[in-house]
């Protein structure tokens, strides 16, 4: 019996061609697990939104065709009526929470549909036991890591006991181990007989879970595989569809989890880092701050007394979430003023505030980093002496010249990221740091970021990029630097593709 039926569906968002759908015919049987893959903007998310009713009730546009979900005609059904039937886990853990505390969040859905408090408590207990969430109860959402947030998001959807569960790029902000947990949750739902539809770029963790795989291209269902066929695709075929790999090399997995057994390899031309210590915990003294030493051990969130890193290369920074990658980047570039470390490059020593001058961090959410009203002034803002010719050169090299006078917020995500990189180059920084630049990107965008990082390194800049994407590492990293519990644990050379 079909539980989801899309019949001759055409859709176009108001004022945008991106993500529009063309003649979609899709029947999903009860209990099936379906994966939607394909490039960004190919219509994966739009299909998810058709099924949960956000199209046409929340995102408006031109819609034709019939959509039936568990017997409801979605076009004529109010969104809240679908709440007990369809549940959705969204991509961004930051913006899908209504409550500030974890318990309240799980209870939120059942409260909305007016269940008795007793029943809600029973469901809460069931979900917590099923998903092993005891340690996350009673915490503030704002103190959780991305992976923990996503587990709470799954729980709060499950508490409504929907028959159909939709996941829209759920692994985008997760590290390897959190993705494993997410996979466990999906398998448990599958075992319970729920119908699951997942839109995703990362494919390796789903290959054993899915029954059907639908490949989207420009708003059309261009190809369909069964789960078995999909598993059998070889590397070349996967690449030709511009998809991320289905199988990961064991060695890369070890690298990405920070569990490689390598030690530190020798590097010829290098940058030295000295005395990088930092702790987020409250300082022991009231008026002046304690100076940290290596012997403070456990107290430290970053503990790197000395490290040599190669110059003019792309270095992948890996390790599980919450073990110090971001802290390392923030300390390195001087954003954490309490970290007193020094960078030695070409015999010059850069301390404290001077580090801000030779380093530039491109943040994960580039929206925070763009301030002005045109791409050109964004780049000029970074220059000590405004030089229009140099600005044009930089924009040209990044393919942004035609957008010179466009407002940065009007650009696509990838373009914004390039504007941020353009400002980084304009600032004259020799050490460029990237905080997870490819999370949530499809294969071809990730490839482009990889190429760009390589180009930056070839102009002499040292590039350090923190990432959970094994694909990016094999794409562009010359070296891999592992961080665990705030310590640098290995630096090894990496074979690029």
């Amino acid at each position: 019996m079909s539980i989801v039926e899309l019949e001759n569906v055409n859709f176009q968002y108001k004022g945008s061609k991106d993500g529009s759908l063309n003649n979609i015919n899709l029947n999903i049987e009860k209990g099936q697990t379906v994966l939607l893959c394909g490039a960004s903007g190919s219509g994966k998310t739009s299909i998810i939104r058709l099924i949960n009713g956000l199209i046409p009730h929340y995102y408006s546009g031109e819609l034709e065709g019939n959509i039936t979900v568990a017997g409801h005609d979605v076009r004529k059904t109010e969104l809240h009526e679908l709440a007990g039937t369809v549940g959705t886990v969204f991509q961004n853990p930051r913006s899908q929470f209504f409550s500030v505390d974890t318990d309240g969040e799980i209870a939120f859905g059942p409260e909305n549909i007016g269940l008795e408090p007793k029943e809600i408590k029973a469901r809460l207990n069931d979900v917590v036991a099923e998903m092993d969430l005891d340690d996350l109860l009673g915490r503030s959402i704002f103190d959780l890591s991305g992976g923990q947030k996503q587990r709470i998001a799954c729980a709060s959807v499950a508490a409504l006991l929907p028959d159909i569960i939709l996941l829209d790029e759920p692994s985008s902000n997760l590290d390897f181990d959190s993705i494993e947990l997410l996979r466990g949750t999906i398998l448990e739902w599958k075992r319970q007989g729920k119908t699951i539809i997942i839109s995703e770029h990362r494919l390796w963790y789903l290959k054993d879970a899915v029954d059907r795989v639908i490949y989207m291209e420009n708003g059309v269902m261009a190809k369909e595989w069964t789960g078995e066929e999909f598993k059998g695709l070889n590397e070349e075929e996967v690449k030709s569809y511009k998809l991320r790999p289905i199988v990961l090399e064991e060695e890369l997995i070890r690298d990405i989890r920070g569990e490689s057994t390598s030690s530190f390899c020798d590097v010829e031309s290098n940058i030295e880092l000295k005395d990088f210590f930092f702790s987020y915990k409250t300082r022991p003294y009231l008026l002046f701050k304690k100076k940290f030493k290596e012997s403070d051990g456990e107290l430290l969130n970053l503990n790197i007394p000395y490290l040599k890193i190669p110059k003019g290369k792309v270095i992948g920074l890996v390790g599980p979430n919450g073990t110090g990658k971001s802290t390392f980047l923030r300390c390195l570039c001087g954003l954490e003023g309490d970290c007193k470390g020094a960078i030695v490059s070409d015999g010059k020593i850069y301390k404290a505030r001077q580090r801000l001058k030779i380093c530039y961090l491109v943040m994960q959410d580039v929206n925070h980093q763009l301030f002005t009203d045109s791409v050109k002034s964004e780049v000029m803002l970074s220059m000590k002496d405004e030089d229009e010719k140099r600005c044009d050169e930089i924009l040209e090299s990044l393919g942004l010249l035609e957008y010179k006078d466009t407002h940065p917020m009007a650009l696509s995500g990838g373009q914004k990221q390039r504007v941020a990189i353009a400002s980084a180059i304009a600032s004259g920084a020799e050490i460029l740091l990237f905080d997870e630049p490819t999370s949530g990107l499809d294969y071809s965008h990730m490839e482009k970021v990889g190429e760009l990082l390589n180009e930056l390194a070839s102009t002499g800049a040292s590039v350090i990029v923190s990432t959970h994407d094994p694909e990016l590492i094999s794409e562009c990293c010359d070296y891999v630097l592992g961080i665990k519990h705030g310590k640098a644990v290995y630096l090894k050379e990496n074979k690029k593709l």
């Binding site: 969204f90 007016g114 809600i120």
Partner: protein
Amino acid sequence: MKLDPRTKLFMVFVVSLIVMMSATTPFLWAIRLSITLIPIILMILEKKYSSALKFLLAYASALVLMFYFLSEQSEGLIASLLIGYCGIVVQFMPAIITAWYVVRTTKIGEFMSCMQKMHVPDGIAVSLAVVMRFFPTIKEEYSSINDAMRMRGVMLGGGNVLRMFEFRMIPLLFSCVNIGEELSAAAITRGLGGDVKRSSVIELKLGIADYLIMTFLAVATVIFVVFKYFL
């Protein structure tokens, strides 16, 4: 100690009321100070020591400055700035302290449950809850934007006050609008906004502490008003 959100709301109301009426005699000041001390003591009971200490210090120093070092005859730029500053702190700080205490110690679920008990329409309750939910988000976003500005060396907007403001507000507005949009999409897919009456998993009950505090606040307000306007 856990207070009922209704007591907290009543506290906000009473403190705001007293803040709006100026204290003119030492007796009225005494009432005002004792009312200000309540949220500070509650904060200490909730183990928020550093915030309690900060508020206490800020308020006490403004009071001391105001009464011992400044008078109506004070002259000069610094004195007049201080009078303005201390005046505002002494007058309005009690309300800020109370609001801070209430926002920090009330869970969204408790707040919603409290609104239901008071028969406030869901529409109003949900909007207020979203406002509460947004404070920490704004704080998080603001601090990332501040980091980005430090990174680019534009903390002072190139010496231009307007740009200093613009560089902070524009990205903040953009990200808050985006988060707000995604947040409401996520909330309505989980059934918010239906015609069913919302239920609440948190059952509220007024305890002895609630009655004590409410009685104290009510009595204090009555005495304050009587002594100020009728005697």
